[in-house]
């Protein structure tokens, strides 16, 4: 048997999961760069819009709001269920974790389906104008993030069924949750900027 290494007479504990985990730092930095990309997209949107005479261009209607508002409700409640799932495993409840993640996944899938349906029925033509370019690329970029988030939930669900998590050890659930909340918050900006703002102020002064 070897002695555990010591520093100043103190034995550091073997690795314990938690918010001090380097993986959490890595995730935070990843979210930071992603947030910067979205910010730059939004800034570019306003930059081009401020130089335009009509926004949306003459002949195009501003985006319809019903489905995006439903989608907002779906996505926000999915963040709620994600938190509920994480609370479950914090108390050691495997059932609450799996159910919560399953509902989150289903809600995310519903969002994705509605969004793709919107694209299928969209009258706007991608190639027609910079307005259309921004509409499709910003929403599409966000939808891609929802898709990646869904893959993450599926993966963590699989790990949950393999019994990887318990009350003290569920960092992957927390981290995927953080990513999902990030994607949700970004959606609120997408909603405000891409969907609502053309109704409120068609052209900037």
């Amino acid at each position: 048997m070897t002695q555990r290494p010591q520093v100043h007479g103190v034995t550091p504990p073997r690795f314990v999961e938690g918010t001090h985990d380097p993986a959490t730092w890595g995730l935070a930095l990843f979210i930071t760069t992603e947030a910067i990309i979205f910010t730059l997209l939004f800034v570019s949107y306003w930059y081009v819009r401020s130089g335009s005479t009509a926004w949306p261009p003459v002949g195009d209607a501003p985006p319809k709001l019903l489905i995006p508002l439903i989608n907002t409700a779906i996505l926000l409640s999915s963040s709620g269920t994600a938190i509920w799932a994480e609370r479950g495993i914090k108390r050691g409840s495997q059932g609450q974790l799996r159910l919560g993640m399953a509902i989150t996944f289903a809600l995310g899938l519903a969002f994705l389906a509605l969004q793709l349906n919107e694209y299928a029925n969209e009258e706007l033509v991608l190639q027609s104008s910079a307005y259309a370019s921004f509409f499709f690329v910003i929403t599409g970029f966000h939808t891609t993030h929802v898709f990646v988030g869904l893959m993450m939930w599926a993966y963590v669900q699989l790990r949950a069924w393999c019994g990887h998590f318990n009350a003290g050890k569920h960092l992957a659930v927390t981290n995927v949750g953080w990513y999902w909340h990030f994607v949700d918050v970004i959606w609120l900006f997408v909603l405000a900027i891409v969907y609502i703002s053309p109704h409120v102020a068609p052209v900037l002064p």
Binding site: T2, P5, I37, V48, L126, A130
Partner: protein
Amino acid sequence: MTFAADRLTRAWTPPNFISSVIGSVDHKQIGLRYIVTALIFFCEAGMAGMVARIQLSRPGIDFVSPSHYDEIFTFHGTVAIFLFATPIVLGGFGNYLVPLMLGTRDMAFPRLNAFSYWIYLFSGILLYGSFFTGSTPDTGWFAYAPLSGPQYSPGLNLDFWGLGLVFLGISTTVSGGNFIVTIFRLRAPGMSINRMPLFVWGILVTSFAVLFALPSLSLAALLLEFDRLGGTSFFDPTRGGSVLLWQHLFWVFGHPEVYIMFLPAVGIVSTIITTFSQTRVVGYLILVLASVSIAFLSFGVWVHHMFATGLPPVALNFFAAAGMVISIPSGLQFFAWIATLWKGNILWRTPLLFILGFVFTLLIGGLTGVMVSVVPFDFQVTDTQFIVAHLHYVLVGGVVMPLFAGLYYWIPKMTGKMMGESLGKWNFWLFFIGVQLAFFPMHITGMMGMPRRVYTYMSTPGLDTMNMIETVGAFMQLVAVLIFIVNFAKSMLFGEEAGNNPWNAGTLEWATQSPPEDYNFRKIPIVRSRDPLWTELEESAAIAEPTAGVEREIYQTTALAAKPEALIRMPGESYLPFLAALSIALLFVGVLLGVLPLTIAAAVCGFAVFGAWFWPEPEASEVTP
């Protein structure tokens, strides 16, 4: 002792050859790969520069055709900045040195580190792939829209450029994040943030700059590719887009990028000046704060690349002032270096010569920088050879010279052999004089009105001689680089043994063997000062107490005070980084060539590989018998 060393070897040495080639996650291996790969790109960028110089050596010749000339300067700039300078400072020197200087055994995310190298390599190959399709990018390294758009650059050439940069951006971003976590969490016990080596500060500040600046380039290139491949109109004014949007996005990245290359080089300079003065650096805090403030300010000056685009005067004034402000922290650094040299006992060896060359050359580059931040002057010299002179004084003086210094300084650590001193002096003087001859006359030709990016010029009194001198200078640099290669080969074959600390330096990397063992340190040091090898050598027992890592483990310490928190288990050799990078490379090739099945297959493979990656390894036993 030998017992512990055996166990360390067993834990950290790759089990077989293939796993040490494809599967290696060792930061030293990865760092060396970065350095070698980047130096190959350096030679290629240099050759492109030589061809351009031969073409301009005399008026009116056609050594290369006008269209080839466009491809050559595009290639020269793109390779030099994206595939040489940025990767070698961050990925190369950063990877090799940061864990050693911090007194730890590896980076925080070793597999991610390997992944980042493979992405870098593949994106380099992807950019070079354009040669085989016969359509090479030809719009300059900043690919201004609408010239780079689908209407004026049809074909695949710019797609290689755009997708290649998005792809390479993954690698650089991932490295940046890896460095930040490593530097904050893996420092040796006792290395509080105010004891951190200045080179590590340079890498830390740069990594933050990467995380904040690079998204802008990635987004710009992505939008350009949507325009080119998807028919959107972000940069097409006929459909409501904006060409200036490209310039804004590019330079929001582009100006910090200058400092992304420069700040690690500044770290190298501070390190070498300290060692070759054999004294503690003067103004540690000033040097640190100068780096941090330069990085901050660099995000507020991008418009000075766009003075001539017709922006409102308020914007011009603001950005001109911001540009001038940067010269204050830069100036402070110069004084701190001079004071250190003044205070110490100078050792006149090759690394220091390159550093003094840097000080001289960068000073001129910095002064012309202040000149071009004056808007009316910039209007006169924009798009002339004056700008070429300025940027080469900054990049060759500010990055390439410190890199040579760094190579001469650390090659003994990396290989265990000293570099030859007399060949080193030849190398330095030829390179230094070559740089001045090649780039100084460009100031004058630029002010005479000679434009950049034009393949030839009319015979004019003055202009012809100047251009010939510039070409001679370029050839001198070529000879200097050849001397470096000869010197390196000679040192590998007959070089003097370096020993652990040939320069009597103070930082921790010199406490390891040369070259270091796979596990770096036999015992993890406890740090009590900024130059641990100078102040604590006598109490050598004190710098080497704990033996972390009888298994593959390292210390995790607190972010500021570096108190030990936990032992974390590190992943060993893995093929997953290679496979992940390969999947992403194939994904990009699929998009580039428009082969949908390949794209989808690569995406599915990518998801599968990352799934395997994040699958937990079996638990370690609590106590190993």
